[in-house]
């Protein structure tokens, strides 16, 4: 069988936070992708040992170039290299973009609620960008749960969109440290906070939840208990040191 792996050129690397970086990859023959998809990256050591990890695409609709945002994991095998060492001009082996289920299509007329835990915001940002670029007038709302203001991805862009876009709103939950003059103390997400900061269950929005497994499963359970139809909730889990992501 022929391989699905191909070579991508690193064309940009911009720090997103102290521990993360957005990396631009030029992929010859890249023919579009759906917002929410991811790529697999394969690193091969000199002795032939390989490690494969998945990273969600953050960008939307760029010709032959896509962007991923990688968060460095303590003791990670792949992410420290991608965040600290990889340089513009380097090449990477990639597979994809893949995954045709956790995706938003510009033809979707439904309102959309996005719920991100930490770096789970990455595929949701691709959806936000695709939605902004499209003529689709549907309402998008993002609830972004993060440790502290310093750990937020895409902060300037999200702030600008929140202010200027008539069809996009972002809300934040800070779990460890809040910004100056924030009206509440840091606290982990609760069902009450969740439900107070998302689109109502009627009319049912399409809901995309992405984060670590515990975050995703807890949020999804709260949503179902609150009457959001299970069929409208799409989830994507990621782990740290596992075989993927």
């Amino acid at each position: 069988m022929s391989t699905m792996w191909r070579v991508a050129d690193v064309v940009s690397g911009v720090p997103e936070t102290e521990t993360s970086r957005t990396i631009g990859l030029r992929v010859a023959g890249l023919d579009g992708y759906l917002a929410g998809q991811h790529i697999d990256i394969r690193l091969t050591a000199d002795d032939g040992y390989t490690a494969v990890r998945s990273y969600s695409v953050a960008s939307a609709r760029m010709d032959e170039v896509l962007e991923i945002t990688v968060d460095e994991l303590a003791n990670g095998e792949v992410s420290p290299y991608l965040v600290r060492d990889l340089a513009v001009g380097d090449q990477l082996e990639i597979r994809g973009p893949v995954g045709g289920w956790f995706v938003w299509r510009p033809s979707n007329p439904n309102p959309v609620q996005l719920i991100a835990g930490g770096s789970g915001v990455v595929p949701l940002m691709s959806m936000v960008r695709a939605h902004e670029e499209s003529g689709n007038p549907s309402q998008f709302r993002l609830l972004y749960s993060l440790k502290s203001p310093e750990t937020g991805f895409y902060q300037d862009e999200l702030r600008t969109l929140d202010r200027e876009s008539a069809k996009f709103t972002v809300d934040y939950v800070y779990t460890r440290k809040v910004p100056e003059a924030w009206p509440s103390l840091p606290a982990r997400l609760t069902a009450e906070t969740l439900l107070a900061n998302i689109l109502p269950a009627d009319p049912a929005p399409d809901i995309f939840v992405c984060g670590q497994t515990v975050f995703v499963e807890t949020v999804a359970e709260w949503l179902v208990q609150a009457g959001y139809p299970a069929a409208t909730i799409k989830t994507e889990r990621f782990g740290g040191t596992g075989g993927t992501r």
Partner: protein, 114 residues
């Protein structure tokens, strides 16, 4: 993980501590979902199987493959039914071969446009 019971929820729930594992209380083995193996399965099947709908042979649950539980911290990939935890699919890759077991799926419904 701590020994906290799975019933505890809310702002003090230690399961929300940031960790590099995806395990939950009472289930320390990390699991992800079908999205995580989209690439590996695409390489093998050459269509987007995670967007397909599958029926579990063990309990009869019908679900999109993307929502099945995936255990990939292993020599291979194990995909389990989210309803009954029965094994739906196993895949092991060697340098020369794929070993594939789909005996836990009684059917797959695949979108022709996918």
């Amino acid at each position: 993980m701590s020994g906290n019971s799975g019933a505890a929820r809310g702002s003090e729930d230690p399961r929300f501590e940031d960790q590099d594992i995806a395990g939950t209380a009472g289930n320390p083995i990390s699991h992800l979902d079908g999205n995580a193996v989209a690439g590996a399965l695409w390489e093998l099947f050459r269509f987007d199987i995670i967007a397909a709908i599958g029926r579990c042979r063990h309990c009869g649950a019908v679900s999109v493959v993307a929502q099945a539980s995936v255990y990939s911290d292993a020599p291979g990939i194990v995909v389990r039914c989210r309803s009954c935890e029965g094994v739906l699919l196993r895949l092991v890759e060697t340098p020369t071969r794929y070993w594939l077991d789909v005996s836990g799926l009684s059917y797959l419904q695949i979108d022709r446009e996918g």
